[in-house]
Subunit: 330 residues, 2 copies
């Protein structure tokens, strides 16, 4: 009989989903960034839960306060990708017996940090004894049905764009987990990208107002994986001709003779928003994001043909459907 470690996270999710009765008229399908409930008056309640486990999800040097903050940010990022303001969060915490009073306070402060940065509050939760540190958060937001950004409406010729550059976290994780070298300033920036991630909430809220977005996803499973998710949901392909590689990732790749495209496409734990935009509303979308002090980077175009291709130096290479997955790393 297959064990969890052989199945991998995505097969496990499928096994569980197959056991569940499906709510009639689900406003958002299973497997999307968030779940939604119709609450009348053309509004939806949006909920999301995401868990962080000390053993597998907290790299060395990440503090407890950072880990707790990150758990909140992970959840808020999913709401951001749908264009939904988080209002409240709950936190269920599994606490190993040897954590100190100070450790527990650090967790409380980190949860509060994450919520308050995005104008939300922690409203309650639950604590339990556990072998691992377990931080499970749930975020709640309310939105107008028509403002919710979806995954399944990307159309050929739509512009593909992201809210930031990629590759910093996969570089940072190589430093923290595999002891790769980087000069102090670069090291600090790459480690910071892992330990203190930011959700693109202002960007998501601004984009949702423009009605220009045909699909949207949080890139926390990696850029390549996120492109594949939209490809599946919208039944389209992509031609990416401007891979958004962070300059820090380029520097890091150069030092170690790594492929910076690889670092940017197949990382994860990056909380950018990936969107597709109606071409005639591109300027409106771009301006809306600029007005909140950020930028929207055009990286390619949606294609009718379902292939996912990266155009670099004249050549077109396929973008593979891989990214980070629990259980898959031993």
């Amino acid at each position: 009989m297959s064990k969890a470690e052989e199945l991998g996270e995505r097969k496990i999710i499928k096994l569980i989903l197959n056991c569940l009765d499906q709510m009639p008229n689900m406003p958002v399908p299973f497997g999307d960034d968030v779940s939604a409930v119709d609450i009348g008056n053309e509004k939806l309640a949006i909920i999301k839960t995401d868990m962080l486990v000390g053993k597998t999800d907290v790299p060395p040097r990440m503090t407890l306060r950072q880990a707790a903050r990150k758990t909140v940010v992970m959840n808020i990022s999913d709401l951001a990708a749908k264009g939904v303001q988080p209002i409240a969060l709950l936190a269920s915490i599994g606490i190993p017996r040897n954590l100190t009073k100070k450790d527990i306070r650090q967790i409380g402060r980190g949860l509060n940090d994450g919520a308050r940065e995005y104008n939300a509050y922690i409203l309650g939760g639950d604590t339990n004894e556990a072998s691992d540190l377990v931080l499970s958060c749930t975020a709640l937001g309310i939105c107008e049905k028509r403002h919710l950004m979806r995954r399944n409406r990307a159309k050929p010729s739509d512009i593909v764009a992201v809210t930031g550059f990629f590759g910093k976290t996969s570089s940072g994780l190589k430093i923290l987990l595999e002891h790769f070298f980087a000069p102090p300033k670069l090291r600090r920036e790459l480690v910071q990208a892992v330990c203190v991630p930011h959700a693109r909430l202002r960007e998501g809220l601004a984009l949702a107002q423009t009605q220009s977005v045909t699909s949207s996803i949080d890139s926390s499973d990696g850029l390549a994986w996120s492109l594949h998710e939209i490809s599946r949901a919208s039944n389209v392909g992509f031609l990416i001709d401007n891979l958004p590689v962070a300059s820090e990732a380029k520097q890091f790749a150069k030092i170690h003779n790594l492929d910076s495209a690889e670092l940017s496409l197949y990382g994860g734990e990056e909380y950018e928003i990936l969107v597709t935009i109606k071409p005639r509303l591109w300027e409106r979308a771009k301006k809306a994001v600029e007005q909140v002090g950020a930028s929207l980077i055009k990286i390619g175009v949606v294609t009718k043909e379902k292939a996912l291709l990266l155009k670099a130096e004249g050549e077109k290479v396929p973008i593979e459907a891989r990214g980070w997955e629990h259980f898959k790393t031993v």
Copy 2:
């Protein structure tokens, strides 16, 4: 520096709460059965999260399917105590590497069992690798603000009542954890009370409609603890003169020369609703619960004096503020 194991769950919760900024105008205070967000139109979104950890919360002989179902029921019970219909649940699951495909399906089925029994659905969740089995659920419901049953409005002379009898789960846990003997039929019933608990949702929904309830709480921390919670929140005392001891708990206590009052007061993991009722509306409340096929048992009266007393055989003995608590049992 104190460690979690010395602090105990309630001090840990306090440490964390002290780190949190409080949302202005919280419709329900910290530490209540549920959390709430005002969503306009005189409505509240009600959310609750509760986690079950294999190592500490799943006794031997409880199946994975039962454990998953119970996690859902625990959350629904809290909504029931507030008079709120659960609509949707999310489940975050920490999965040990050695769980099999069959185990994972059992978890999926148990989650679905729990939700569907109460006319709710599992809408999504998250899976992670963990050392322990961790099941963290969040329930969402929407209610009219005026229907929400609270903890802080009990008044002297109100009638104290519960939706069922107590002591079965503490007896069942003695069988499962301490290998106490019971004849087969009794054993089956007591173990069933632990492994297949029921939330009093119909009762809670019926009571909420009557406008007769001045305070309400889910009894999962034990009857004594729940009385103390209402006492604190409403600034009242109790005189309990009809302790609702289950006949099965009496039988079990007799075999082992135990105190059945002790089993009933200081247990836990029991999902009855404890309410206080305006005396002039008692008949209305009783009838409402009977109309959904259940019963409301009068157990005592609210007193102005803040003492919590149990009247038995002419004597009055204090009801202590103790119940089950994580970290406190080694």
